[in-house]
């Protein structure tokens, strides 16, 4: 039967339902960012950004470490890679479907190929 649901994955991707949180992840993918520098990017309070980071951390999407007075945030590349791999497979699923659609549409004109090869 089909694969069951995975609570960790659900939490992980549910955390990404918010546009600001998605943006935080994108920024934290390349390099470490402090919570205060992230806070300057968005028109929301430092506390709000801190809360977003906590949700992302709870979902396992980012990790946080202390560096002096700063809290540095990095995105979990592994989780993103898993999603990217799944999207690649879903792309293939749709490519296959579109291939079958093409064949179905081509079958609307079954005589065309014969006509092309007909010397008359």
């Amino acid at each position: 039967m089909v694969v069951g649901s995975d609570p960790q994955a659900d939490r992980l991707f549910h955390a990404l339902a918010d546009a600001t949180r998605r943006d935080i992840v994108r920024h934290a993918l390349g390099a470490e960012h402090s919570v205060s520098s992230l806070a300057r990017r968005y028109p929301v309070s430092f506390a709000a950004v801190q809360k977003h980071v906590a949700v992302l951390e709870g979902a396992g999407l980012v990790t946080k470490r202390r560096h002096g007075r700063e809290q540095l945030v990095t995105a979990d590349v592994h989780a993103i890679r898993r999603a990217a791999r799944l999207l690649d497979e879903l792309e293939q699923l749709w490519r296959d479907r579109i291939g079958r659609i093409e064949d179905l549409l081509a079958a609307d004109h079954p005589t065309e190929t014969q006509r092309a090869g007909d010397p008359r």
Partner: protein, 165 residues
């Protein structure tokens, strides 16, 4: 190859795939509105789909199941959100149990189909936008068609050609 572009966002969990079909928009729309045509392309030959209820009115539920090589069945549904024939269909799609009750956690995904005329008017640009609620959901979707192979796809093509000849 008729697929003209693919956009994937692994953070937002979205997939947008654009293709050009060699048929007018009205014909392409039938691929979605006629359940017997849907059944010929939705599932791979080894995991064919059977549409049980198929009513594309807003608020209606389309239900289907896919039958695997060992006779196992996977159930799915679409809740129709909006329809604008023959150009646009928006559904929430998810999985169900064998009585048709949704089993999704945290919830269904979104699929939006858009059909527009190509510049020369002869063909159709079909855009499928999918938004997946979780990685688990994506895995489940993939499990519904896993057995697919080139050989099986070819045999289905031959079968379609044979019965239209």
């Amino acid at each position: 190859m008729t697929v003209t572009s693919v956009e994937k966002d692994p953070v937002a969990l979205t997939l947008t795939i654009t293709s050009e079909l060699a048929a007018p928009v009205d014909r392409a729309w039938q691929l979605w509105t006629d359940p017997r045509q849907l059944e010929r392309w939705w599932g791979p030959p080894t995991y064919p789909a059977t549409f049980v209820d198929h009513d594309l009115s807003p608020g209606a539920r389309v239900s289907y199941f896919m039958t695997g090589p060992s006779g196992d069945k996977a159930y799915g549904y679409w809740d129709v959100v909006a329809v604008d024939p023959p150009h646009r269909l928006e559904v929430r799609d998810g999985f169900a149990d064998d009585s048709g009750e949704p089993t999704d956690t945290p919830g269904p995904g979104v699929m939006i189909v858009t059909l527009t005329e190509t510049a020369d008017g002869a063909g159709t640009v079909m855009v499928i936008e999918s938004q997946f609620p979780s990685a688990a959901e994506m895995e489940q979707l993939l499990a519904m068609g896993q057995e697919e192979g080139m050989v099986a796809a070819l045999s289905q093509i031959e079968a379609i050609l044979a019965d239209t000849a």
